[in-house]
Every structure is written in structure tokens, then in C-alpha cells.
């Protein structure tokens, strides 16, 4: 299982800040998104917008591998400072 976190505008759009999804190995971020959309098909449009993702708190691209126990996060482009 993989823990998935959502932040900021995405968290509000989905109405969820955290979810656990099963992912068959070997998996990538793209597979995690497929697993999320299988559970929540209504999240499709939220995941077509520009989003960043992180694995274990490091920014990665969508082809990055994901393993059981990893912390995955999705969030909008950052706007701090």
C-alpha cells in the first residue's frame, strides 16, 4: 500500500487530504494516479490540470518508480516566498 497526500487547492478540490491505495509492483507515479482514479473516477479533471508530485518528500516526474511504504504527494505548482 502507498500513502498519498494532497495539498492546497488540490486538497480542497478533492475534499481529501490523504488516501491509501494498493499499487502492483513495479509501479510509477502514473500507476498511482490510475489507482486513485479507479477508486474516485470523479477526480479525473483534477488530475488533468498542472500538478507537481513528490515521492518521500522529493519532487519527481510521473515516470518515477514507487514502492510499497512510500509517501507520495500531489500538489499544485508552489507559490511561497
Amino acid at each position: 500500500m502507498i500513502k498519498v497526500l494532497f495539498f492546497a487547492a488540490l486538497r480542497e478540490q478533492l475534499g481529501s487530504e490523504q488516501i491509501t491505495v494498493p499499487v502492483a509492483k513495479p509501479a510509477t507515479i502514473a500507476d498511482v494516479i490510475d489507482a486513485l482514479l479507479a477508486i474516485h473516477p470523479q477526480w479525473q479533471s483534477a488530475f488533468t490540470q498542472s500538478l507537481l508530485c513528490a515521492v518521500n518528500q522529493n519532487m519527481v516526474s510521473r515516470d518515477h518508480p514507487v514502492n510499497a511504504g512510500d509517501e507520495v504527494a500531489f500538489f499544485p505548482p508552489v507559490t511561497g516566498g
Binding site: 513528490a54 508552489v78 511561497g80 516566498g81
Partner: protein, 158 residues
């Protein structure tokens, strides 16, 4: 919070305000080898994209924020000769005029201190996981990332 007595790097994510003079004192205390101190501070302005702004709410990704700031500072330390580095970023509800962010850098000479401070701020803008929700004319809106910030950060790439 990491203090300068033990490390050259201090990173703080906090709801509380900070004092510019206290932070400069910390950068300078028992630091006789550095002649240059460059600081940047950012505050909530009362306007954005032609609209009145009355406040901001700042969210972050606890854990990743500290990790990404550490990473940015390490990159700066590889590029320039830096002595001490402080990054403070506030979170939560902030009103107009309040301080949001502080970046302070010391170095033997000004060129490295100026460049290091600007680099850290430019990369914080595009890679540290903070998000601003703006309260403008009674409506709350998550701010969108600016392309100009991406372009500015890319200018540091060789």
C-alpha cells in the same frame, strides 16, 4: 529550529513573526571571518494583479518544506563561498504588511553573499512546497504560480 552556534544553516517554518535585527545579529555573532551580510525579507502587500488584497493564508508540506530548503541551501553553498545561511518562512494567516519570508546570507565578500541570497530566494519560489491563498475583496483564491518565477530560477542553470 537549528541555531547558528551548532551549524551554519538555520531553517525555520513558523506561524510567529521574526525580528530582522535579531536575525542579522545571529548571522553576525561570533562570525568574524565574514565581511558581507545580505538579507531579503518579503511581506504581504495590499495589491495583486490590480486587485486589493487584505490578507494571505499560507499552507505547506511539513517535512518536505524543510528538506527542500536544505537542498536549495546546499546547492547555493556549492556555487558560492557562503558562511551562514538563515531561511525563515511563516505559515498560517497573515495580514497586509506582515513579514512572510526571510533569507539571510553571510560571506567573506559581497558578490557571493548577493548571489547566494538571490539564488536561495529564486529557488524557494519555484521548489519549496508552500501555497498562498489570497483574501481579495471578500473572496478567497489560491494563487497561481507565475511563469516569471520559473524563468528567473532557470537563469541560474549553467
Amino acid at each position: 529550529m537549528v541555531k547558528h552556534e551548532n551549524s551554519a544553516i538555520k531553517i525555520a517554518i513558523q506561524t510567529a513573526d521574526f525580528s530582522l535585527s535579531d536575525e542579522v545579529n545571529l548571522l553576525e555573532a561570533q562570525n568574524e571571518e565574514d565581511g558581507a551580510v545580505v538579507t531579503f525579507s518579503g511581506r504581504v502587500r495590499n495589491n495583486n494583479l490590480g486587485k486589493k488584497v487584505s490578507g494571505l493564508f499560507l499552507e505547506h508540506y511539513p517535512g518536505m518544506t524543510e528538506k527542500s530548503l536544505h537542498n536549495i541551501i546546499e546547492q547555493a553553498q556549492k556555487k558560492w563561498q557562503l558562511g551562514r545561511v538563515t531561511v525563515i518562512h511563516r505559515i498560517g494567516q497573515l495580514t497586509v504588511g506582515e513579514q512572510i519570508v526571510f533569507v539571510g546570507v553571510t560571506s567573506k565578500h559581497r558578490q557571493d553573499a548577493f548571489a547566494g541570497c538571490e539564488f536561495i530566494m529564486d529557488y524557494l519560489k519555484v521548489s519549496a512546497p508552500f501555497w498562498k491563498k489570497e483574501l481579495s475583496e471578500g473572496v478567497e483564491n489560491w494563487l497561481e504560480a507565475k511563469q516569471s518565477d520559473e524563468i528567473k530560477a532557470k537563469q541560474w542553470q549553467p
